[in-house]
Symmetry: C2
């Protein structure tokens, strides 16, 4: 089965908005073995919409439109589709009741504009939009092709895809089976990882593939399989997935949509550990990542962002002599920062960062991108020097993940040792 | 002049990568009055590329392709275009010299694959790619249409658009004149702003338009004009731009690509003020925003992220009694946090936040999204209560901008008063 995705909206064509809907839809279709042939963004006028629908139905079996379903006059998708099929709009009672219920719940007045949203082309099948007033609509053409129209608001569109359209497609069409799993790693550059996995990739059967998805500090590896028979497929996939894990070893920190901050937080919570951070070059970004996770107050006590040397001295107790002798970006200072915050905030672990995020401030000795990270615990305080390159934001992000990763590896070691003792 | 943008790459179709190139190109073309009719993403195979080129040249005057120009075998765009025009590839000496120079500078070995990158279709005009080895290529068709092929790496593509293609288009084509300016505001919701600007928008001539571009905490307003004669255009534009400023008043904080953290930092630096922050619900995000700006150490001393009440007490000196009586999310506590950090870090200004970012932790009294923000200075400490809704990340972002905005308005007031006195 081949698909074309059409996003409607002038705001996309003039570059005001980046079309992220198509990537989401493409990814979801790909997971169930539907190949996306094209993604097209068009203007919100009737001629452009009708032309794109006609052309796309000529090229693909499934055409998905997003956008142009709002209650106002400039939202013309629904009328254009009705015209395309030569049918009338009819009021759908179930949709009407849903709209009334939703608006009442939100404390919003029901207007004529909302009433019109319950009118749909008479040949359509409704896809329930639990998060909005515009229903999703599915049409079957005379030659067994499928046209789907969805609202453009991501918050409404996403559940319509995952909870309504995908199950319908899987039930009504014979699709090749596909399976995916994403392995999350940190601390290993893409090229080193590719070297490490040469043998693993060579041994993959033709039905399987591995994709490298790098972003600053995090490298995601997506393993995919496609084939015909479910039980066999699952077995082969499982075999190679386990094998991949033996190659990734301790650099693997999670799967799919998990995050390093969420998983590190979970490890702290599970072991009843607490954490504090003393941040210089990361400027509060580690604290920001940790507190982006709901419930972080269970294990994260807080941070001191020590951007000036005075604060490193006065609040964290770093020796003035060492600051002068070794500089703020040094092993000596970052260790004292970690020890200082751990004592002051009375936590089990403490992370500290000090580096030159750039673009200025570098020297021959300590070029831009030099970052010292320390981790203090009841065992000892360790410090590692990193070199993260010249891009300020990237250095901040990479330093933050490197720090969280040091903590993750340390907790793993402690837990392993405890298990050994038992 | 109408354009179609084609991005080539399977990674876009399967949703691994969001196509941000098209938004950039669309925005740049729109600025010089070229209307983007469609954006199309296609697979990287020769048939898909040739079909898309042929169809698009049938519909538009300008077709811009990005992607598929790398040195490896799966990069087929160049060969496909040569085949499309029925021409040969010929070695371009200038391109070859550029590639050799660039690789030498980067300390990379020159290989046969790089040599091939200097081969271009014989009917093409070179667009110089200073940041990479694949040149941009421009083709004029027999019926005066233009086809452009650019590398897909944003870092290489962007200068090729702004420094090579746009100047060439402006020189070789008579384009309608366009002018844009984006006005940055914060603290006013989109709907309130729309109400405020009803009269302003009504008085705009037909050649002008105003676009609302909202994002959490920041509302950008883009004023545009298009027409024929430059001096007159500039005059009309200037008149309405000034008028818009009188409507926006103090809510206007900057223009175009500036940021609130950058401008607030600039105000601190200019007035030789220093700042510290005490962050509870923003969890270090204000510090993170401030330190994303290079040179922030001139005015930003640091932050205490006080996620636990103990730290509010012990480090910031918040009264235990008040924490118990009024709760951490209260006027009393946030004021003491601001005063505490200002004293401890010895800064001119201090910002403090305390709120319920959610999704849990709300009550009838203090629902999720309740945030108190305080600003301490030598004058007095002020505190404001906000209600930012139920989305955790959005509440963190909006709280951070609201805090920076309180500081911005306060410094403005002080500076105004000083000017009055003088």
């Amino acid at each position: 089965m081949q698909a074309i995705i059409i996003t409607i909206g002038d705001e996309i064509l003039i570059g005001q908005v980046v079309d992220t809907n198509s990537a989401f839809i493409g990814s979801e279709l790909n997971k169930i073995g539907i190949q996306v042939k094209q993604i097209i963004s068009i203007s919100d006028n009737a001629y452009a919409i009708q032309t794109a629908i006609a052309e796309s139905l000529g090229k693909a079996d499934l055409v998905i439109l997003t956008g142009g379903l709002g209650p106002t006059n400039d939202d013309i998708t629904k009328h254009t589709i009705a015209e395309f099929f030569g049918v009338k709009l009819v009021r759908n009672q179930k949709v009407l009741e849903h709209i009334q219920k939703l608006l009442k719940y939100r404390g919003v007045n029901f207007t004529n504009l909302n009433m019109n949203q319950a009118d749909v082309p008479e040949n359509c099948q409704i896809l329930n939009n639990l998060n909005g007033t515009a229903p999703g609509m599915l049409f079957k053409t005379s030659n067994n092709k499928v046209l789907v129209s969805l609202p453009g608001v991501p918050f409404e569109m996403k559940p319509l895809i995952t909870d309504e359209l995908i199950p319908w497609l899987m039930k009504s069409h014979k699709l090749p089976l596909r399976k995916h799993k994403t392995f999350l790693t940190t601390g290993v550059p893409e090229s080193s990882m590719a070297n490490r996995l040469v043998e693993f990739e060579k041994d993959l059967p033709e039905s399987m593939s591995l994709a490298y998805l790098p972003s600053p500090g995090i490298l995601r590896l997506r393993l995919s399989i496609s084939g015909e028979s479910e039980p066999e497929l699952a077995k082969i996939f499982e075999y190679h997935a386990r094998k991949l894990e033996t190659y990734l070893k301790k650099d693997l920190f999670g799967y799919d949509s998990q995050t390093l901050e969420e998983l590190t937080g979970e490890m702290l919570r599970r072991n009843k550990y607490t954490l504090s951070t003393a941040e210089s070059c990361t400027g509060g970004n580690i604290a920001h990542l940790l507190t982006s996770v709901s419930g972080a107050s269970d294990y994260f006590m807080g941070s001191v962002v020590a951007y000036s040397n005075k604060i490193k001295e006065n609040i964290l107790g770093v020796s003035k002599k060492d600051l002068e002798e070794f500089g703020a970006v040094s092993k000596q200072v970052v260790i004292q920062m970690a020890n200082g915050i751990r004592e002051k905030f009375n936590t089990d672990f403490a992370l500290a960062t000090s580096g030159i995020a750039g673009p200025t401030g570098g020297s021959d000795d300590k070029p831009v991108g030099t970052v010292w990270i320390a981790l203090a615990s009841h065992l000892k305080t360790i410090a590692i020097k990193f070199q993260f390159g010249e891009h300020r934001q990237r250095t901040i992000t990479r330093s933050s993940y490197a720090a969280l990763n040091m903590l993750r590896l340390q907790i793993n070691k402690i837990v392993e040792k405890t298990v050994e003792k038992v």
